[in-house]
């Protein structure tokens, strides 16, 4: 587990299978559509550029899409997430920059930082997802309520995922 490539590939397979086989089947009601796979993009290293992030997002989104029936929908939302992540990271940068030995996890960056970072990106991701899926402007409030309730659920799953699979990076 020394090479970061092997580590990230293992996470990739794990996340796609969890999303495709478990999370996709949590269907409590029509307002909850939780998604855990954005965690893959959220937890990529700070210094990764937009190009590489976009490529990871494309492969991730299409893999998740293969488990559903609207092929391309998850990929589209994930691309938006990947494209907006580096500018957002720049926007909420601490005064003395990021420590590149750390990862953007809840352990390394603290609860408040991670919650604001993840909530904002997840909200954009989910809003895009439901807008493209439904694509009817007379149902705008349905889109909005689906987005808000699903973001809360996804956020809980993503935090849980980190407590299970991630350890704090050593300083």
């Amino acid at each position: 587990m020394n090479s970061p490539w092997i580590k990230y590939s293992a996470y990739f397979v794990l996340i796609v299978l969890i999303q495709g086989l478990v999370i996709q089947n949590i269907q409590i009601n029509e307002y909850l559509n939780p998604m855990i796979y954005p965690v893959m993009i959220l937890l990529l290293p700070f210094e990764l550029n937009v190009l590489a992030t976009l490529l990871v997002a494309l492969v991730l989104g299409l893999s998740v899409d293969a488990f559903g029936n609207g092929f391309g929908l998850n990929a589209s939302a994930t691309l938006v997430l990947a494209y907006l992540r580096p500018p957002l990271l720049k926007l909420i940068k601490p005064r003395d920059g990021y420590d590149t030995t750390l990862l953007p996890t809840i352990h390394d960056m603290g609860k408040l930082w991670f919650l604001s970072y993840a909530t904002l990106l997840l909200f954009i991701h989910h809003l895009w997802f439901f807008t493209v899926e439904i694509f009817r402007f007379d149902l705008f409030f349905l889109i909005l309520s689906k987005t808000i309730s699903s973001v809360v659920f996804s956020l809980l799953l993503i935090i849980l995922f980190q407590y299970i699979f991630y350890k704090p990076s050593k300083k």
């Binding site: 009601n29 029936n69 092929f71």
Partner: protein
């Protein structure tokens, strides 16, 4: 030229984002168009394998509910067996029926994957073209209407359920055969809508709605639901109805794919009329 290169370099990320986004949105719009059957979804072999494995683990969780519905169907069928009838006459005549010909056959299948929180919802069935399933066939369960087959691979098939914005079903009122189109507005999994209902049709809350038949997919008289609410707005010529669906789409385990033996004939003759009109 120099400027162009600088421009490209500056907006490289944005351009790549737009190109990839166009690509995946193109895929998504294609996948909604189910007449192009070549698409990646849960009927593909690799993902189908994973989903079948997961189904093999989780299928026992719902066993009691699945058994209840099977037992109910069995009881109804048992009541129709010859043994259940008391012979009123001493001798029974066997009639080889030349007045009726079989039109519908039913292919049993099991739901191995389902969604019910999207704007278009799908079931994946564990039977495919090897069992004779074709695109366009109707799907029903013991409780009523389920949907329509939109994609088939050799061993799996995809059903678009009635809980989909893209599907419309011919239905009629059981008591006086007034017919309408049923559609779902994406909001509540128990309620579907019928729009453009004329105000002079006599009906009440609680009336039964069944399939109309005649559209090659469903036999006549499959249960759909009951009228739950009448929505009328002042000044509108027509009213709309909310139909409480009989089927609980969160708990469907066994379904039947309807094979219409006379579908080809009906389509051919309708096609001929259409082409003569032109």
């Amino acid at each position: 030229m120099q400027n162009l290169f600088q421009f490209l370099k500056k907006f490289r990320n944005f351009l790549l984002f737009i190109i990839l986004q166009t690509f995946v949105l193109g895929l998504f719009i294609n996948s909604k168009d189910f007449h192009r059957s070549q698409m990646t979804n849960t009927s593909s072999t690799v993902v189908g394998w994973f989903i079948e494995k997961r189904y093999n683990i989780t299928k026992h969780f719902n066993l009691s509910a699945a058994n209840d519905s099977l037992v109910a169907a069995n009881a109804a069928l048992k009541a129709q067996l010859p043994e259940s009838f008391y012979p009123l006459q001493g001798s029974i005549f066997y009639v080889n029926d030349t007045l009726k010909k079989q039109q519908f056959q039913y292919i049993p299948a099991t739901v191995i994957n389902s969604s019910n929180n999207k704007i278009n919802n799908y079931f994946t069935l564990n039977q495919g073209s090897a069992q004779g399933i074709e695109i366009g066939m109707g799907v029903i369960s013991d409780n009523g209407l389920i949907g329509q087959i939109i994609d088939v691979s050799e061993y799996y098939s995809i059903v678009m359920t009635v809980l989909s914005d893209d599907i419309k079903v011919n239905v009629k009122l059981a008591k006086n055969n007034e017919y309408w189109l049923l559609n779902w507005n994406g909001k509540n999994n128990e309620i579907a809508q019928i729009e453009d209902v004329k105000r002079d049709v006599p009906f009440e809350i609680g009336d039964r709605v069944i399939t109309r038949g005649g559209d090659t997919q469903f036999p006549e008289g499959i249960a759909v639901g009951t009228i739950d609410e009448i929505v009328s707005e002042d000044g509108e010529q027509t009213i709309s109805l909310n139909i409480r669906l009989d089927v609980n789409y969160n708990a469907v385990y066994h379904v039947y794919v309807v094979k219409n033996l006379m579908r080809q004939q009906q389509l051919e003759i309708e096609e001929r009329i259409l082409s003569e009109d032109q």
